[in-house]
């Protein structure tokens, strides 16, 4: 069970990295500018995911203060 959980939690990072690499590949390898732009936006949002992924806490909520919630 722990192993499955560990694999699942790595999966998130692996997909994030895959998105990043795919975006990079599109930017480098495709000649068309529109495609480069879409690739760039993929790359950019995967960077967000790389920041957000490690910061997720199960059972916590968004960082907007409310007296009913304690974990952010």
């Amino acid at each position: 069970m722990d192993l499955i959980n560990a694999a699942l939690s790595k999966y998130v990072y692996v997909v994030t990295i895959f998105l990043m690499v795919a975006g990079l590949f599109v930017v480098v390898a495709r000649a068309n500018m529109i495609k480069k732009l879409v690739g760039l936006s993929i790359f950019q949002s995967s960077v967000y995911l790389l920041y957000l992924g490690p910061a997720k806490i199960f059972g916590a909520t968004a960082p907007i203060l409310d007296s009913d919630y304690t974990a952010y």
Binding site: T61, A62, I64, Y69
Partner: protein, 92 residues
């Protein structure tokens, strides 16, 4: 019950994304894109109830209001005449 709904929405999303990836015409993709946006809104709402904090419907509202723009932009693009059907064999 909300967990079940979330599961159903995600399965539906997977199916619709499959339609968007497969095409075959650009209009099919636009339709699928519209539906994915709609399912995303529903998923956000259900997620809110699932995690017990349903205040964040603003994102769903944004999608609801702005989804139309993306679809109309695609359609208007074709109105100007440069249609590129995906598959040449789609000619009927």
């Amino acid at each position: 019950m909300f967990a079940l709904a979330a599961g159903a929405i995600i399965v539906a999303m997977a199916l619709v994304v499959g339609r968007a990836v497969r095409g075959p015409t650009v209009f099919d993709r636009a339709l699928a894109g519209n539906s994915v946006g709609m399912l995303a809104i529903l998923l956000l709402a259900v997620m809110g109830f699932l995690t017990g904090r349903p205040e964040f419907l603003d994102i769903g509202l944004v999608y609801g209001l702005l989804n139309l723009i993306g679809t109309l932009a695609v359609l208007r693009f074709f109105r100007r005449g440069d249609l590129a059907p995906d598959e040449p064999e789609q000619e009927s």
